[in-house]
């Protein structure tokens, strides 16, 4: 337990508000009448629906199939009938609706056939495919498909496996209570991770404001047949960020633009390990998770919630109160405001935080930046937030990128400490999205230019080929004509030959025209003929009108 810990730069100490919800037992949220299950609950390719409206589905049945390697399947969280496959509001920062499968539950909660996986006997690639099809994704918030993260890749092994029980965001306690009550199962999941990644060193990082969780994990670590080091790390936000946890535990930094596996480290959230244990030892897909419901509610606590449960049912369950000013998914530092409370709980939903003016007073008006660099002192990415802010505000996105804008993890520390109350992270998100949009535009423009250039090239080539063909044909004709009179015995003049050539061509053209004349407008009755004429007149007029504005524009 005397492991040397390393300090990462920056970080803040917001009020923790953990004990409000962490000291209560876990309750199961009741089965809702309707489940809305988004097909995009993970990073990567969106799942493809594999059921139809009207189908009866069973609990745990795959309703959306993973599409590609970086993807994960989605499943029915309970048995019932598919009532719709359409766009529904989802808990996402964009506030845009997304494709969801709605299921009317039949309250029978009838499971599909499922069986444990004999993971040690399976080929690793097959096991990963199974896990992908069981819908596993990181439950810490980023929801990266777990199967892809369990692939050690070219290195064939990942020596260090870190289990992240940091949970540094204020108010959230779902990982804390999970560790308190399900430490053994978490380590069962770790055994599978260890098997797939070939890890030799296993570290569990837990912030020292969770002594019960640390004790539970230590007790569980005694019982497994591999070495697990449970380490209490200092409580500091964002100490539970993967990069920060890696630095705290190992002193290593993930190189900019690379993955932690490049330095032989993989990090998983404790919730993911638990879900993995359920998947492997019970064959259960990821259809439920722990959710902290806290803030401005009567009974702050953690619920086991079926994916797809509307958020309002949980708030009602926890006891809603007057004076609610909004609901966040996640914590107060990085949480996302919910567009409405019909949105479903998804795999990324670790917390539902209900706001009130007392708990979350409206943010004061922003003043100009005074370059005090408190943000730089607080930035765990070691950036110069005040400069990034200046560039983002001025629209100087190139400079912002030079100053490592994309190393920003949007943890919110800079905004938290800013004495001018500037919503700094907002400016960085704006700058990032602008840069992405411009790159997309540039790619589209490049493509269009290439296409245009190729078309020009093709037209040019076709013209050339046609000319060559014509020349060859003319040559042949001339030779033919020259041969004819030669056979007749008189040598014709060059002019005669040309004339004959033209006459022949004209005759050919006439014949061709007669041939291609559309037959369906021949011999029409007069009324049809008139109709056609009228249409032709209208067309001419439209063409005329279309030309006019252009001409008038050209006039000085």
């Amino acid at each position: 337990m005397s492991r040397e810990l390393f300090k990462f730069k920056g970080g803040v100490h917001p009020p923790e508000h953990k004990s409000e919800s962490s000291t209560h037992p876990i309750h199961a949220a009741p089965l809702p009448r309707k489940l809305v299950i988004p097909l995009r609950q993970h990073i990567g390719q969106v799942a493809k629906p594999v059921v139809n409206v009207g189908d009866r589905v069973l609990k745990g049945q795959m309703i959306g199939a993973a599409d590609g390697y970086i993807s994960a399947a989605v499943h029915a969280s309970s048995s019932g009938v598919v009532t719709a496959i359409d766009l529904q509001p989802v808990p996402h920062i964009s506030g845009l609706p997304d494709l969801c499968i709605s299921i009317e539950t039949d309250s029978r909660d009838e499971w599909i056939d499922h069986a444990p996986l004999d993971y040690q006997a399976m080929v690793p690639a097959d096991l990963r495919m199974q896990l992908r099809d069981l819908g596993l994704a990181g439950l810490g918030g980023a929801v990266f498909p777990s199967a892809a993260k369990l692939d050690p890749g070219a290195a064939h092994s990942c020596p260090t496996l870190i289990l992240n029980g940091g949970e540094c965001e204020p108010w959230i306690t779902c990982d804390d209570v999970l560790m308190r009550h399900h430490a053994d199962e978490i380590l069962q999941g770790v055994a599978v991770m260890r098997h797939l990644l070939g890890s030799t060193g296993i570290l569990v990082g837990i912030e020292d404001n969770k002594p019960e969780a640390i004790a539970a994990m230590q007790a569980a670590a005694q019982k497994v047949d591999f070495a697990v080091e449970v380490v209490a790390v200092p409580t500091i936000y964002p100490g539970g960020g993967a990069k920060q946890m890696i630095q705290t535990l190992t002193g290593k930094q993930v190189p900019s633009g690379k993955l932690s596996t490049d330095i032989g480290i993989q990090v998983f959230n404790v919730g993911t390990a638990h879900a993995l244990a359920r998947a492997v030892h019970h064959g259960e897909p990821l259809i439920s998770r722990l959710v902290t419901v806290t803030g401005h509610v009567l009974r702050r606590q953690n619920f086991v919630v079926l994916i797809g449960t509307p958020m309002h049912t949980l708030i009602t369950l926890a006891g809603d109160r007057d004076g609610t000013t909004g609901v966040l998914m996640g914590g107060p530092m990085m949480g996302v405001p919910m567009p409405n409370l019909e949105v479903p709980v998804v795999k990324a939903t670790n917390c539902i935080l209900v706001k009130s003016n007392e708990l979350f007073p409206p943010l004061p008006r922003a003043l100009p930046c005074i370059r005090c660099t408190r943000c730089a002192d607080a930035c765990p990415a070691e950036l110069q937030p005040q400069e990034l802010f200046r560039f983002a505000k001025a629209g100087d996105f190139g400079r912002a990128q030079e100053y490592h804008l994309f190393d920003c993890i949007e943890c919110g520390c800079c905004s938290y400490v800013c004495p001018s109350h500037i919503p700094l992270v907002d400016f960085y998100r704006y700058a990032k999205s602008e840069i992405w949009a411009r790159e997309k535009e540039k790619r589209a423009a490049d493509l269009a230019r290439e296409r245009h250039e190729f078309r020009q090239f093709r037209l040019e080539r076709e013209k050339k080929e046609k000319a060559e063909k014509l020349a060859a044909k003319a040559q042949a004709k001339r030779a033919e004509l020259a041969a004819e009179p030669a056979a007749a015995g008189s040598a014709p003049s060059d002019a005669d030959a040309k004339k004959a050539l033209i006459a022949a061509a004209l005759a050919r053209a006439q014949a061709k025209k007669a041939e291609t004349m559309p037959k369906n407008i021949d011999h029409l009755p007069p009324d049809k003929q008139r109709e056609i004429e009228e249409i032709e007149a209208r067309r001419a007029k439209i063409r005329e009108m279309a030309r006019q504005p252009l001409e008038s524009e050209e006039k000085p």
Partner: protein, 344 residues
């Protein structure tokens, strides 16, 4: 509104209020050792600064409330007033404050946008334009035969009337002035510092004023309002430059301790060079900024046309800030160290 949804309790007003609080020991010492004249100067500067701030905010279409109450105008007013001679005429104070707030602050874009420290711009304008009036320092009370009361100080400042005594009886050359004048008259440093105005390290009274500013500065550092980089580098710049010169010719160059214990140096090191808006932002940049300002202060004091060089040195370094910042950007998380592969 996007995340985060909680804020630390800090605010611009709070930062400025701590700066003002940290100036109180210096003001108290000034009243104790030099008489109450400074209170008149401070009050006049505050009124002028707030009026100018309000007028400029209105002219620029900004709301009065958050900006007038951010206390930044009062900080500028105090810093300028504490740099001015304690018995300077009222119009000098008003002119300097107006120039600081109107030109140096608002014409450059207001709070957070000024390239130069406004108080130092005001000071520079005054010392260039009115060098004579800028020497009306009240002498330390221990050396003055007829100390002025508050009312008498006010009448000197507002009416230019010196009661009972002539100007020379209440005002005195500062130690830096005395050193400069003495050196110009071919005296050696050792001869000059036998004058009664010179104390243990700096001038009589002045060294205590410097100590009081140092105390306030340490308070700001303890509260993390300022970092140690700029003050330490600034003091080091002065000490090293002055020490280097003094080592080679102690007769012609003042001792480093003497240069350090001038009130302008401590005020400059902890309150003016640390101005975040016009100073460098990176840790290495702050060190360069401080060292450069310290070096230039001694150069100007020694070879320049003015007795003190703190204001000009800081203004000159203000000019270099964009360049300094650009070339001292720190390494970010996960970025390869120079000449070293990232740990793998």
């Amino acid at each position: 509104m996007p995340a985060p949804f909680i804020l630390d309790r800090s605010s611009v007003t709070q930062v400025m209020a701590w700066v003002l609080a940290a100036l109180l020991p210096g003001i108290a010492v000034s009243v104790w050792l030099f008489g109450p004249g400074i209170l008149v100067t401070l009050s006049l500067a505050i009124v002028t600064a707030l009026a100018a701030e309000a007028a400029m905010l209105k002219a620029r279409g900004y709301p009065a409330t958050p900006f007038l109450t951010d206390l930044s105008a009062i900080v500028t007013a105090w810093l300028l007033a504490l740099s001015l001679p304690t018995l300077a005429p009222w119009w000098l104070i008003v002119t300097g404050t107006l120039f600081a707030i109107v030109v140096a602050k608002h014409l450059y874009g207001g709070l957070g946008q000024n390239i130069f420290n406004p108080a130092m711009v005001g000071y520079a304008v005054l010392i260039v334009s009115f060098p004579v009036q800028m020497t009306q320092w009240a002498g330390p009370l221990s050396l003055t035969e007829t100390p002025l009361t508050l009312a008498q100080s006010a009448s000197v400042i507002f009416g230019g009337e010196f009661p009972k005594a002539t100007l020379d009886a209440v005002t005195m050359a500062t130690p830096l002035d005395a050193l400069r004048t003495g050196l110009l008259q071919q005296y050696t440093v050792d001869e000059i510092i036998t004058q009664p105005i010179f104390g243990h390290y700096g001038g009589v009274g002045f060294e205590w004023l410097a100590a009081a500013f140092l105390l306030g500065g340490l308070l700001l550092w303890a509260l993390r309002i300022i970092s140690w980089h700029v003050p330490l580098a600034f003091l080091a710049g002065i000490w090293l430059t002055a020490g280097f010169l003094h080592f080679f010719d102690p007769g012609r160059f003042g001792a480093p301790w003497f240069h350090l214990f001038a009130p302008s140096v401590m005020l400059g090191a902890f309150f003016i060079a640390t101005d975040p808006v016009s100073g460098a932002t990176t840790p290495r940049g702050k060190l360069i900024f401080g060292l450069g300002a310290g070096f230039l202060t001694i150069v100007i004091r020694t070879w320049g046309g003015y007795p003190d060089g703190v204001a000009f040195a800081i203004l000159l370094l203000n000019l270099c800030v964009p360049l300094i910042d650009q070339y001292t950007q720190p390494r970010v998380y996960g970025e390869a160290r120079k000449g070293k592969e990232p740990q793998a």
